[in-house]
């Protein structure tokens, strides 16, 4: 959408006009849905979350200040909502099925980045691998490369120190490479 039209649509949207909201939905739904998918992972519920975000949009837009570009703002709202959802899910999990304590990370010398990710041109395979990553790896990775947040911003959202964020991102990429190499091997067999 053009800059000028977007501004006009946003103005109308804030006034609560249905057509403007529909325009926004058409324009941004897929990006919002994509982020929901990455953050919520393979457990699903991404469609529901995306619809919920758009349902709440008229209300949320009252707090939108035009300092931030609208797409960035919308994606930030989306990630907040999804993180909330994840937190709630974790809580339920803890109540109903107590998880075994997380052991130390297995130290595996992973394959180097060049040969796996870059030469893996099948983007959907990469997407699938991302959505299968465990949540504590997936969420920092998505916030970093989808929302393009800094380590500090990610840390603030997840309640982690900056160093922990760096380590989590480093490990999640290693995990992703490993998963993709495995997938490639399976594919070749």
């Amino acid at each position: 959408m053009e800059e000028a039209t977007l501004r006009e649509v946003l103005r109308q949207g804030r006034a609560g006009e249905k057509t403007a909201l529909a325009d926004l939905y058409r324009c941004f739904y897929r990006r919002v849905l994509g982020l929901c998918r990455y953050l919520l992972g393979c457990e699903g519920g991404a469609e529901d979350a995306a619809s919920e975000i758009f349902a709440r949009l008229p209300e949320a837009m009252k707090s939108y200040d035009s300092a931030l570009p609208f797409p960035r703002w919308l994606l930030s709202v989306t990630s907040h909502y999804c993180l909330d959802l994840l937190r709630r899910r974790r809580l339920e999990q803890r109540i109903f099925e107590p998880r075994e304590a997380e052991g130390p990370e297995p130290v595996v010398a992973g394959p180097s980045p060049l040969e796996t990710l870059l030469f893996n041109e099948r983007k959907d395979a990469v997407r699938a691998a991302i959505s299968r990553l465990p949540e504590h790896y997936r969420v920092p990775l998505v916030l970093r490369y989808y929302n393009e947040l800094s380590y500090d911003e990610i840390g603030a959202r997840l309640g982690l120190s900056r160093t922990r964020v760096g380590i989590a991102i480093f490990r999640s990429k290693r995990e992703l490479r490993r998963a993709l190499t495995m997938a490639n091997k399976e594919g070749r067999q």
Partner: protein, 518 residues
């Protein structure tokens, strides 16, 4: 200085190291090529990750939309089929009402059938053929190109070498298609009196005049073909009018509305068309076969004359060296003028009313055998590809839609095969495709039978128990319905459409699921 850890490099690639550390790392990178390569790789990886995540996925829902748009087209097809079926039923009904004396008015009667058929055909030849062919060629090339591009894209994602192969294949196909499509055009194609064509001649145009000699065969496609010279080989003509005034040393095969033979044909004349006339000056040394609305003979025929015609007339000075076989609707439609010389017998074959096939026990035996064969085929298919039988039709509209799709499946492969067969490379593909298509035609009714059987036996309480029993019940119903008098043919046709549509939908959805699962 020793290398930093991979974690440090990861932070560095994300621009998240403190400034002091960044400087140290940069200094090391300047000196250490392997570490530099690693950081380059990490940066490229970051860019790639961002790109993968930020480009929206291809939604399957979006990919479905064109199909939904196409469904209106399919609906139109379905309506067309329904309308034509209705028309056919009405005309059949009218035909039963028309008294015998008015039968010449009946467009589907034997007398006018050829004339009408050739009238339509000639219209097509004159007005539509060029347009039709060019549209068809364009469409075919487009579809083919799209298929190749699509296949190439999906292959290239996995095997880059395949794209080279495909490119070569496309090039070869394109070249052969281009050379095969080369043809001579012109309003008038003529071979002048003093000219000799030392080979077979392929002539197409509005008028084809052969005044000179053709050493080989003559293939002519025109509104009017006139042979005044000599053709040493056969004449194969597709025309509104064919005039043979000269000499043909081979056979004459003619598909024409008017075929006039006034010259000499050293072998036989085989004519399919409206009116065949052998003039008093004509001499045919071989036999004459005519399937036409009228056959008129005044010349000399060396061997037999057999005619499947509305009217057969022999006038003096006609001479027939062999028998005369006339297959006519009524005995008086064969007219032989006194004075006509017939060396052999003269026989009139009237259409005999065959006893109803329902009265013969062999018919039921045959149907039983067919049913058993279909049942066996269905069970083997179910065993091999159970997914093909998973179709459900819930609404009447989806039945129509499926039938429309089935019609496309019925019509498109032969056209595609014909187009493919034009090229040398495509010929085996075309044959293979045609074989597969024929197999599908047979199998189609089995899908419908399975659907009917399961539909009948499915009740809210019971789970499907035996597929074989379902199929048997369904097949029995389909067989009985498609052998009903009058309606059977149409039921068979509709079942065929439905079955093809079902199979196509199932195969397609299975294939799609298969590719996304990979």
């Amino acid at each position: 200085m020793s290398c930093y850890s991979e974690l440090t490099y990861s932070l560095h690639a994300d621009h998240e190291l403190p400034p002091e550390e960044t400087r140290q790392v940069e200094a090391h990178l300047a000196a250490c090529a392997p570490c530099r390569a690693l950081v380059e790789g990490l940066r490229a990886e970051n860019l790639f990750l961002a790109e993968v995540m930020q480009t929206p996925e291809d939604e399957p829902a979006v990919a479905v939309t064109p199909v939904q748009n196409a469904s209106s087209l399919i609906r139109i097809f379905a309506i067309l089929i329904a309308v034509s079926a209705g028309l056919k039923i009405v005309t059949e009904w009218i035909a039963t009402l028309v008294p015998g004396s008015l039968s010449w008015l009946d467009p589907f009667g034997p007398a006018l059938r050829w004339t009408l058929g050739f009238g339509v055909l000639n219209y097509l030849i004159e007005e539509g053929a060029a347009m039709f062919v060019s549209v068809l060629t364009t469409l075919g090339v487009l579809v083919f190109a799209l298929l190749i591009v699509r296949a190439g894209l999906s292959l290239a994602q996995r095997r880059p070498a395949a794209i080279v192969l495909l490119a070569i294949l496309a090039l070869v196909l394109g070249l052969t298609a281009a050379s095969a499509a080369e043809r001579r055009t012109g309003e008038v194609v003529s071979v002048p009196r003093d000219q000799t064509v030392n080979d077979s001649l392929l002539a197409g145009g509005d008028v084809v005049n052969i005044d000179g000699n053709v050493v080989g065969n003559l293939f002519a496609w025109a509104r009017r073909v006139a042979v005044k010279g000599t053709v040493k080989g056969d004449v194969i003509a597709f025309a509104q009018t064919l005039d043979v005034d000269g000499t043909v040393e081979g056979n004459v095969y003619v598909f024409a509305q008017f075929a006039n033979i006034r010259g000499h044909v050293a072998r036989g004349v085989y004519s399919f068309g409206g009116h065949v006339q052998l003039d008093s000056a004509s001499q045919v040394d071989g036999e004459v076969f005519a399937a036409s609305s009228s056959t008129e003979v005044r010349g000399t025929i060396g061997k037999h004359l057999s005619a499947y015609s509305g009217h057969v007339e022999l006038w003096t000075p006609a001479r027939v060296g062999g028998d005369v076989e006339a297959h006519v609707a009524k005995a008086k439609n064969l007219f032989v003028e006194p004075g006509v010389v017939i060396a052999g017998k003269t026989e009139t074959f009237l259409p005999t009313r065959r006893p109803s096939r329902y009265a013969r026990p062999g018919f039921y035996l045959m149907q039983g055998v067919r049913l058993a064969a279909a049942l066996l085929t269905g069970l083997v298919l179910y065993w091999l590809f159970p997914i093909l039988f998973a179709a459900r039709l819930d609404k009447a509209s989806s039945v129509l839609l499926t039938m429309g799709l089935g019609f496309l499946v019925l019509v498109a492969p032969p056209i595609a095969a014909l187009i493919a067969a034009v090229t040398l490379v495509g010929l085996p593909l075309a044959l293979l495709g045609a074989g597969l298509w024929l197999a599908c035609l047979y199998v189609a009714k089995i899908f419908v039978a399975a659907l009917i059987g399961q539909g009948i036996r499915r009740s809210p309480l019971s789970q499907p128990k035996s597929f074989a029993l379902d199929l048997l019940i369904g097949l029995a119903i389909v067989f009985v319905a498609s052998n009903l008098p009058y309606l059977g043919g149409w039921i068979r046709f509709l079942v065929l459409l439905l079955g093809l549509g079902l199979a196509f939908i199932q195969a397609r959805s299975h294939w799609q699921r298969g590719t996304t699962a990979m």
